[in-house]
């Protein structure tokens, strides 16, 4: 098994964990929707393409617009993971190559940046402000990050490789937060439709518990014993994914 360089791993975390959570932010949360409310153009997409890694697309499409035509596309090619990471880390900025939608580059890229700033403000802001939302975004990022780490990071791969294959579903009350699947060779993750029934389901009964778990402050065994967290099915798989989720902080500082 070849493991990624730090830059590639970070780029994959940005592409496969952070961007999908930003997508969730704008599509599913009032705070995210508020950021994009003022936009005039509501039918465009941003395709992020990093050489050697792949593509992630963010579609900005409001259902009420009801446009049937293809969205306008800003397709950005990053020549290296490093180039992509520097945008997210705000460490210098070298313009990616716009493969299509050149005319959108200067009008729409700043839109994304203001969106990302808002996302970052919520994630890094005052702990007590927006706590439930921050918690939701953080757990979703952690879930998707775990799938990337299990694929690309030696320590995480070592942890998961001894596990029975299966899918772990994480829930807050009745709401699905996301899932991670290990097929014995590869890990994948998602925030929406499950590709198969869960092998183990971990349900948190409150946001406060979830926050404590994310902060590493939760006595998880006690919480399970108290039925504050319910674990149903193959618990060891969820334990290992939990450990890998904790590792995401090493790369993506909240």
């Amino acid at each position: 098994m070849d493991f990624c360089s730090h830059d590639t791993l970070l780029a994959r975390l940005h592409m496969e964990a952070l961007l999908p959570v930003i997508r969730f932010f704008i599509e599913e949360t009032p705070e995210g929707k508020a950021v994009t409310e003022s936009w005039q153009d509501w039918h465009w997409e941003m395709r992020w393409h990093v050489m050697g890694i792949g593509k992630t697309t963010l579609l900005f499409d409001r259902a009420t617009v009801g446009v049937a035509c293809q969205p306008r596309r800003l397709h950005l090619l990053f020549l290296s993971p490093f180039q992509l990471n520097s945008i997210f880390l705000k460490k210098g900025f070298s313009l990616p190559l716009p493969l299509s939608g050149f005319s959108l580059l200067f009008s729409h890229l700043p839109r994304f940046q203001s969106l990302a700033d808002q996302f970052e403000k919520i994630m890094r802001g005052n702990r007590h402000e927006n706590a439930p939302l921050r918690c939701l975004l953080a757990i979703k990022t952690a879930i998707l990050s775990a799938a990337v780490l299990a694929e690309c990071e030696q320590e995480s791969h070592d942890l998961i490789s001894g596990c029975t294959p299966g899918l772990a579903l994480f829930k807050l009350g009745q709401t699905n937060l996301g899932w991670i699947r290990w097929d014995g060779r590869h890990a994948t993750g998602g925030l929406d439709t499950l590709p198969e029934p869960p092998t183990v389901t971990v349900s948190f009964t409150s946001t406060a518990l979830l926050q404590a778990a994310l902060d590493g402050q939760l006595d998880q065994l006690a919480a399970v014993g108290l039925c504050d967290i319910q674990v149903c099915g193959l618990a060891p798989l969820a334990d290992v994914f939990g450990l890998i989720m904790d590792r995401a902080n090493k790369y993506l500082q909240p």
Binding site: G162, G173, T199, T205, S206, L221, V224, C227, D228, L243
Partner: protein, 416 residues
């Protein structure tokens, strides 16, 4: 958002104690007894007293006990013969500056029971012995590498703990794993690491948690023995769980092979804290060089209990009784499963069966079934092998099956 309501029959005193414990004990209850490893909210958390094959939880609810303290209770809780021996020694004293004479007696007795063994040492827990045996193998061979089966439990120490907290990479640098019964993998490991191999440590058959038990294939033990001999590695038998439940002379007799060192614990003193490692004379000098002690390791009460327990096992034909009870339980459960069209998979030896519902690879429905069984006063574990004791007589099994039938009825109604 609220917690789901606890089962109506949930032992409230258990939860009240656990709420207090959660404030002052990490995990509330840690280790294998953690509620997180059963079905929280459906199983009792605290036990108050026990007798024979039954125990009573903090709410006074009676359970037929199919875990036997996770193995140590082999003659039944509170066995008169063992209790008398322990009480006699307690009156004389337990923790002296020296071992009591009973230590010599116990060592001699165990060496006489276990055919390949020439010496015995004692500790308190299984981990004390498995870890020490690994050190003896390293001392004897001057090598570092240890091979074990993936998913096998050998204790809580860093080299083999199934946990992850507090470990460093170096703890397991020389610990290797292969899949149980995969003889190609075994051969190939020896090809690569044979010259550095200190020991292979294995349980007599594979009894992983969250998995079916797996018996050794016909060629398994002869191949392991041959490869260890060929490469000069020790064969350590971890008989902590199965020892003296399958065969009165140790589980290697049940499977027909000879280890170099074997470790015992659970069944040797009917619940009193003691473990033992026995070995061949070739390894005695090396064993004497590996430091071994603990504040309570010379405890005379546990040694007296062990001697009484092992002698009673032999006298009472315990192995045959437990096997017969296990078969009766297995056959009865399979018949109920077929009557209620909820097929079961039962693996492992009858006195230590691993039981789960068929087509339930993630154990979710088994957890539901065991939660319902708990309401009927049956302590059936959803993802660990069960244990029977000599106290599980025909009447107890008949009663268990009656309760199990009620559990199947309720389970069926939840499914439909």
């Amino acid at each position: 958002m609220n917690k789901p309501p606890l089962q109506p029959s949930f032992p409230k005193a258990s939860m009240a104690l656990f709420e207090r414990a959660a404030k002052v004990v990490p995990g509330g209850i840690y280790g294998h007894a953690s509620p997180a490893l059963t079905v929280p909210g459906a199983f009792p958390y605290y036990a108050v007293r026990a007798e024979g094959c039954r125990y009573w939880d903090a709410d006074g609810v009676e359970y037929l006990d199919f875990m036997c303290g996770y193995g140590p209770i082999i003659l039944g809780h509170n066995h008169a013969g063992v209790e008398d021996a322990a009480a006699h020694q307690r009156r004389l004293g337990d923790c002296f500056n020296h071992p009591a004479p009973v230590m010599v007696e116990l060592a001699e007795y165990m060496v006489s029971l276990v055919d390949f063994a020439d010496w015995a040492v004692f500790g308190k827990n299984g981990s004390d012995m498995t870890t020490w045996a690994v050190q003896v193998a390293r001392e004897f061979t001057g090598r570092k590498k240890i091979l074990k089966a993936s998913g096998a439990y050998h204790g809580k120490d860093a080299w083999c703990s199934p946990g992850h907290g507090g470990l460093i990479e170096e703890d397991r640098r020389h610990i290797h794993n292969f899949r149980w019964n995969d003889l190609d993998a075994l051969e190939s490991w020896f090809k690569t690491h044979g010259e550095q191999a200190a020991a292979v440590i294995l349980t007599p058959y594979h009894h992983p948690a969250f998995g079916d038990s797996e018996m050794p294939s016909q060629e398994f033990w002869p191949t392991v023995r041959r490869l260890c001999d060929k490469h000069g590695a020790l064969l350590i038998l971890d008989d902590v769980r199965a020892g003296f439940r399958l065969h009165g002379g140790g589980s290697h007799r049940f499977f027909g092979f000879e280890p170099d060192i074997s470790c015992y614990c659970k069944a040797i003193a009917n619940g009193y804290p003691i473990s033992a490692a026995l070995g061949r004379k070739e390894f005695k000098a090396a064993a004497s060089r590996v430091f071994l002690t603990g504040s309570y390791w010379n405890g005379a009460v546990a040694m007296s209990a062990a001697l009484a327990c092992l002698q009673t096992l032999e006298k009472e034909k315990a192995i045959e009784k437990m096997a017969a009870a296990g078969e009766m339980l297995r056959d009865g459960l399979l018949a109920l499963a077929s009557k209620f069209n909820s097929p079961l998979v039962i693996s492992g030896p009858p006195s230590m069966p691993s039981v789960r519902l068929a087509h339930d690879d993630n154990f979710e429905r088994t957890q539901e079934f065991c939660a319902i069984a708990a309401r009927e006063g049956l302590f059936f574990h959803p993802h660990h092998n069960w244990f029977l004791s000599v106290a599980h007589d025909g009447a107890a099994i008949t009663e268990s099956l009656r309760r199990a039938e009620r559990a199947f009825v309720s389970f069926k109604s939840t499914v439909s």
